[in-house]
């Protein structure tokens, strides 16, 4: 268990190794700082190429940062080799050692470090018990014959068996099919809770990030845009990017003109949730914050309705003044070509007309 | 996949013959070709040998081809109803030629030695296997025995195979000798070599010619063979043994002293004197190039190398032209040095022969022999030489063979003869070399085998071992090993010749050998040959 501090990490790929072979102008990681509390799981989410995997490798010690410091429990480990950091890493492609059985994979660390076979066996047994029912059978099989989910369980066990201070997971379940992904996700979460090991969990899937992370870090272009719990990110995004990145379907952003406490959007006039200086702004509305069928609403041309019976809900897709809009509606929402919609003004986000600055967020939902 | 390759060779029916459909040379086709006369004889001429079947277009453009056309036309006037068809076959490659003949699609005539890969014994085996037509009667009909030049006659006596002839003589090579730079020999005041010189003389000469930039001699990969043959290798290393399954046994140890001395002499030149160089990859072309480029002052080869094209790189005439000196003054040629007791044999003149397809009808065979006779001994030869003269007016391009088998060193209509073309020295050298050609041929005395018997490979191996192994070599142990290897190989073979016939033939052969050397090298007979015949051969023959 450990507290991990990542401080002002900068990483540049100066060689031709950069994407496309060209010398990349911007660093892969640009002054990234991050703290992981003891036993906490932080999910790093971002689109591909945002630097999330690089950050993971720097924490693991597989890559050296150009600037900045990595501390484990206050100790500077920036120059420490990966094997000495006591981290365990799980990869997207599992990276189980070929031509070894599950057992061999678990014993690898002990062989490398010249420990006795008894110790390796005892620890493997111990780990198998902790991994739960049916795991022990996997150990006697060749890894090539295991399913993706089974391989990932072995890969996780391979990390646990040597009791790492920190868990690093690099999109561990994205190679699994949807159903397996769901169950494995649950299982990993359970294991993380059980072991209470500090974890960095990298994913490009925000739902997964929400599910796995105690806190979520949203990354873009080598920077961390915001770190926080899901509620913080969802209701109090730091900027327009985070606001639109988190949430599915994403928030609708409409241009508006503010004047005298009123917002004019696509011909409709709505009261501003907070005082806004006169002039152009943009407002963000999440799908669930729309009221439908109101006479003073904006006119939405409906393109299609996505009905999700399992959720007893539907999403109406369409456009308002050429801007795509998604509106949450009841499952039995009738098929119409047009729809009058109006936001719940208390849940509207306000952004500057240009740039990503956030002028107003509704804050956490007051449920009670 | 070697097995496959091999089978294609052996299987007549597999259709592996490198034959493509040919085009009939229509300008020589009979006038009534279209009438479909069934009596037409078609002779397949393959691989542009002995000539490229000319087309009318080529004949117009090239005076040489025109001359050939004329010659062929003259022959066809006398032989109506014969057509020549050009076919594709790699006539100089044993594998391809044998495949074609076996498959019944071979050319009407071909260089006989190719089927035996230039080995006389193997060629005779191939003849007996039926790869060439029996032309015994035709040889009589066309009187080749009378037509060939005197110097070629002894060689010709060795060609009958058990009384039958499968080939006709078509050329003669005056044999091997040593080329040397006369100008350098004179400049350094060295003694010019002459007939009867010894290997010690050669060693001295080579050392004297060596400078920082030029080695005294360059030898082909088989150069080691020459000094050994001069000592009687070949003659003295095989013992007739009619009591054995295979009628020869091999003995390289009895005369170990003879061999050792000359192996050491040869190695001495290369490794001690550093006056000569050789290499396992050096062939005729490489050593000739070394000589013409001034990297070696002496090399061995057959006399034909004198008569190269003066306009082609790395030929001796070209070298003379470049250095602006008469070739006879620049380059000398002398038969190989003799062995310790006067024996010689490395000069080995050889005869080129033409064989004919075994599939030709009696009539077609006659026509084929007639055509080759016409081109070699008859008017065809003269017409072509005259045309060459008219075109080039260069005697060196006309007289390209110092020892023409038909004896024509002067041709009517051409101003000048062989001697004028090349200078008296070279013609003399060729005559001397050709005059050496009378060593008795064992083929003339002992009936031919149907199998070639154990190959010469172990001998070649030892030669290359002695020639190229730089460190110390144990020659006596090698000779012992060679004896064992060769005899072990021989065990696998069975002679097809009757024991008594063989013994009788062998006795006659050795009598002829003794008689021959009695005259040429009496020391050899008294010191080497007679004791050996008495102590080794006689007991073996009587066993």
């Amino acid at each position: 268990m450990a507290r991990i501090e990542v401080e002002k990490i900068v990483k540049r790929y100066s060689d031709v190794e950069g994407v496309g072979g060209a010398r990349s102008a911007r660093p892969a990681l640009d002054t990234v700082s991050l703290d992981i509390a003891d036993g906490e799981t932080i999910a790093i989410v971002g689109s591909s190429g945002c630097g999330k995997s690089t950050l993971l490798k720097i924490v693991a010690g597989l890559e050296q940062p150009d600037e900045g410091v990595v501390r484990f429990d206050g100790e500077d480990v920036t120059a420490v080799r990966p094997q000495a950091r006591g981290v365990g890493m799980v990869f997207q492609d599992y990276a189980l050692y070929p031509s070894m059985k599950g057992k061999g994979n678990l014993a690898y660390y002990f062989q490398v470090h010249g420990r006795t076979e008894e110790e390796a066996r005892a620890r493997a047994q111990e780990t198998a018990d902790r991994m739960g029912i049916g795991f022990e059978q996997l150990l006697d099989q060749s890894t090539d014959t295991l399913s993706g989910g089974q391989q990932q369980r072995v890969a996780i066990a391979r990390c646990i068996v040597r009791e790492p201070r920190l868990f690093l997971m690099d999109e561990p379940i994205c190679n699994l099919d949807a159903k397996l992904r769901e169950s494995t996700r649950v299982e990993i979460r359970k294991l993380l809770r059980k072991f209470g090991i500090s974890t960095l969990y990298v994913t490009h899937d925000q739902q997964e990030a929400v599910f796995m992370g105690d806190r979520i870090a949203v990354m873009r272009g080598g920077r961390i845009e915001q770190i926080g719990t899901f509620d913080e990110l969802y209701y109090s995004p730091a900027n327009l990017f985070v606001a639109t990145f988190i949430g599915s379907p994403p928030m609708t952003v409409l241009p508006a003109i503010a004047s005298g406490g009123l917002l004019t959007v696509a011909g409709a006039e709505w009261p501003a949730p907070v005082p806004v200086p006169d002039g152009p702004v943009r407002i963000g509305i999440r799908p669930e914050s729309w009221f439908t069928g109101r006479g003073d609403g904006a006119l939405m041309t409906v393109s299609h309705i996505e009905r999700i019976p399992t959720e007893r809900a539907a999403f109406v897709h369409g456009q308002v003044d050429g801007v795509p809009v998604v509106v949450a509606a009841p499952l039995n929402q009738p098929d119409t070509a047009e729809l009058r919609i109006m936001p719940d003004m208390g849940r509207v986000y306000v952004f500057a007309a240009d740039g990503e600055q956030c002028l107003h967020t509704p804050g956490p939902l007051d449920l009670f | 996949m070697t097995t496959r390759r091999k089978v294609l060779l052996g299987l007549a029916g597999a259709g592996g013959a490198a034959i493509a459909g040919g085009t009939i040379y229509s300008s020589f086709a009979n006038d009534d070709e279209d009438s479909g006369s069934g009596s037409d004889i078609v002779l397949n001429i393959g691989g542009d040998w002995p000539f490229a079947v000319p087309t009318a277009k080529q004949a117009k453009a090239d005076p040489n081809v025109k001359a050939l056309s004329e010659a062929l036309g003259a022959w066809q006037d006398d032989n109506p109803g014969v057509r020549l068809k050009k076919i594709t076959v790699k006539i100089w490659e044993q594998k391809h030629l044998v495949t074609a003949i076996s498959g019944g699609s071979g050319p009407a005539m071909f260089p006989g030695l190719v089927v035996g890969n230039w080995n006389g014994g193997a060629t005779k085996v191939a003849f007996q296997q039926g790869l060439a037509a029996d032309i015994t009667d035709l040889v009589k009909k066309y009187k080749f025995d009378d037509k060939i030049a005197d110097f070629a006659k002894p060689q010709w006596e060795g060609w009958p195979v058990n009384g039958k002839l499968y080939c006709m003589p078509d050329s003669f090579n005056a044999g091997n000798g040593i080329y040397y730079r006369r100008d350098l020999v004179a400049k350094k005041g060295l003694k010019e070599p002459g007939l009867g010189w010894t290997w010690d003389d050669l060693r001295t000469l080579v050392a004297g010619l060596t400078t920082d930039r030029m080695k005294g001699a360059a030898f082909q990969k088989w150069g080691m063979n020459w000094p050994l043959v001069a000592q009687g290798w070949g003659l003295l290393t095989r013992v007739p043994a009619p009591s054995q399954k295979w009628h020869w046994k091999y003995d390289y140890t009895t005369h170990a002293a003879l061999w050792t001395e000359f192996i050491e002499l040869y190695r001495g030149m290369i490794y001690k004197d550093k006056s000569a160089f050789s290499d396992s990859t050096l062939m005729d072309g490489e050593v000739t190039a070394a000589f013409t480029q001034g990297r070696a002052a002496l090399f061995g080869n057959n006399i034909g190398f004198f008569f190269g094209d003066p306009d082609t790189d790395n030929t001796l005439p070209n070298m003379a032209k470049r250095m602006d000196k008469p070739i006879g003054e620049l380059v000398g040629f002398v038969p190989h040095p003799v062995g310790k007791t006067g024996y010689y044999g490395a000069s080995s003149p050889f005869m080129g022969v033409t064989s004919f397809s075994p599939d030709l009808s009696e009539e077609a065979l006659d026509k084929a022999v007639s055509l080759q006779n016409f081109l070699t001994y008859g008017k065809g030869y003269v017409i072509r030489k005259q045309a060459l003269w008219n075109e080039t007016k260069n005697l060196q391009k006309v007289y390209t063979d110092p020892t023409p088998i038909n004896g024509m060193t002067q041709i009517e209509g051409i101003k000048g003869d062989m001697a004028e073309a090349w200078g008296p020295e070279i013609v003399k050298a060729a005559e001397i070399s050709a005059g050496l050609s009378t060593l008795p041929d064992e083929g003339a005395y002992i009936p031919a085998e149907k199998d070639a018997g154990p190959p010469n490979t172990p001998v070649e191996d030892m030669h290359s071992h002695w020639a190229f192994e730089k460190g110390k070599v144990d020659i006596r142990a090698d000779l012992k090993k060679l004896t064992d290897t060769h005899n072990q190989q021989a065990k696998g073979f069975t002679s097809s010749v009757d024991k008594a016939d063989f013994a009788a033939g062998a006795e006659k052969y050795y009598a002829a050998v003794t008689e021959f050397w009695q005259e040429k090298a009496p020391d050899f007979v008294s010191e080497v040959l007679e004791p050996w015949l008495a102590d080794v051969v006689k007991p073996s023959l009587e066993a």
Binding site: D15, K57, A60, L62, P82, Q83, A84, V87, G88, M89, F91, Q92, D93, A95, Y97, S99, Y108, V112, S142, T143, D144, D170 | T2, T3, R4, K6, V7, L11, A14, V98, S102, G116, N117, N119, A122, Q129, G130, K221, D279, S280, T281, L282, D451, P455, T457, P458, E460, D461, M462, S464, H465, F468, E469, K470, T485, Q488, Q489, K491, G492, F493
Partner: protein
């Protein structure tokens, strides 16, 4: 090899095409499965079988007439005197006996064995390690090395090149030996002890399978090495537990090629050593000797030797297959 490639499709297709047919003749115990037994559904299967046959027929006939027929005939021929233009006579094992007793055959097998071992060690195994080492280099170096290995040198061109390089008088190697390294003139191909080694050397650079290894290594995801690195594995352990196991299938395949290739070595030694395998036959491989037998018109003996070589090559390949199948995990 071409045979197996051509016929893989047949082997794969045949069972697939046969399956519907089986169903037709043996209806299921529960009264027959419903839809699948309808004639309509079988049609594609049948047609497929006909098409398969039609498509493979030319290849099959070609293989039969040019591949198998000559091979079988060669085998038959080795028991005869293989006379060319007269009826062949059955000679039993005479050729086999003669070849067996020939000391030069034994020698040529020894030469081939040494050549094979040298060739496989130097041009087969060394490139594996070199390729693994190279993968540790920067990407730029990797690219250059791959280019070098991929140089499209024709066999003949490089053979001519190497003949020049080995020339004892003015060759490049001699120059390096005497002028650069200051050694006395080296014999290279003129020494019985060295000739095989020098014959194999060019293969390291130009004919080696290095490029294939590098391509395979490049296809191994970096995560495998990273996982091992995190567990503290060094270079050798990574090579042993990741690179080599991942290369294993390709090694297995290439090793068969290498065995077949070097037991049948012919062209390069022939050209480089002047056909005789000099000096002293130290470089005369089995196939070179076989070729000499052909030149002596000893077809039956040559075929028998070919059969011996085939048996030995086949044995080696079978042993190789065994060895590579001894995999604890499969």
């Amino acid at each position: 090899m071409a045979a197996s490639q051509q016929h893989t499709p047949v082997e794969e297709e045949a069972p697939a095409a046969a399956r519907p047919g089986e169903r037709e003749t043996a209806p299921g115990p529960a009264g027959g499965p419903p839809a699948s037994t309808k004639p309509g559904t079988q049609k594609p299967g049948r047609r497929r079988r006909v098409e398969t046959t039609l498509f493979t027929l030319p290849a099959f006939l070609f293989q039969l007439s040019w591949g198998w027929y000559p091979m079988i005939m060669a085998f038959v021929l080795s028991f005869t005197d293989a006379a060319l233009r007269r009826p062949v006579q059955f000679t039993g094992l005479e050729s086999y006996q003669r070849i067996w007793d020939d000391p030069l055959v034994a020698q040529s097998f020894r030469v081939t064995a040494v050549y094979t071992v040298l060739s496989i060690t130097l041009t087969f195994f060394i490139p594996i390690f070199v390729a693994i080492l190279l993968m540790e280099m920067s990407r730029r170096h990797i690219r250059w090395m791959m280019l070098l290995w991929f140089l499209p040198l024709s066999g003949v061109a490089s053979t001519v090149l190497f003949r020049y390089m080995f020339n004892a008088q003015y060759g490049l190697f001699q120059w390096v030996a005497t002028k650069v390294l200051g050694l006395p003139p080296q014999p290279f191909l003129n020494s019985a002890d060295q000739v095989l080694f020098w014959l194999v050397v060019p293969g390291i650079l130009f004919f080696g399978p290095g490029l294939i290894y590098m391509a395979t290594l490049q296809s191994i995801p970096a995560s495998y090495f990273e996982a091992a690195e995190i567990e503290g594995a060094g270079f050798w352990r990574k090579m042993w537990t990741i690179s080599l196991p991942r290369l294993r299938p390709i090694i297995s395949m290439l090793l068969i090629f290498a065995i077949i290739g070097s037991t049948q070595a012919f062209e390069f030694p022939t050209i480089m050593t002047g056909a005789e395998g000099s000096p002293g036959g130290a470089a005369r491989t089995v196939v070179m000797y076989l070729f000499q037998l052909l030149q002596q018109l000893r077809y039956a003996d040559a075929t028998a030797l070919g059969v011996y070589l085939f048996v030995i090559t086949m044995t080696l390949v079978v042993i190789q297959r065994r060895f590579f199948r001894e995999d604890p995990d499969t």
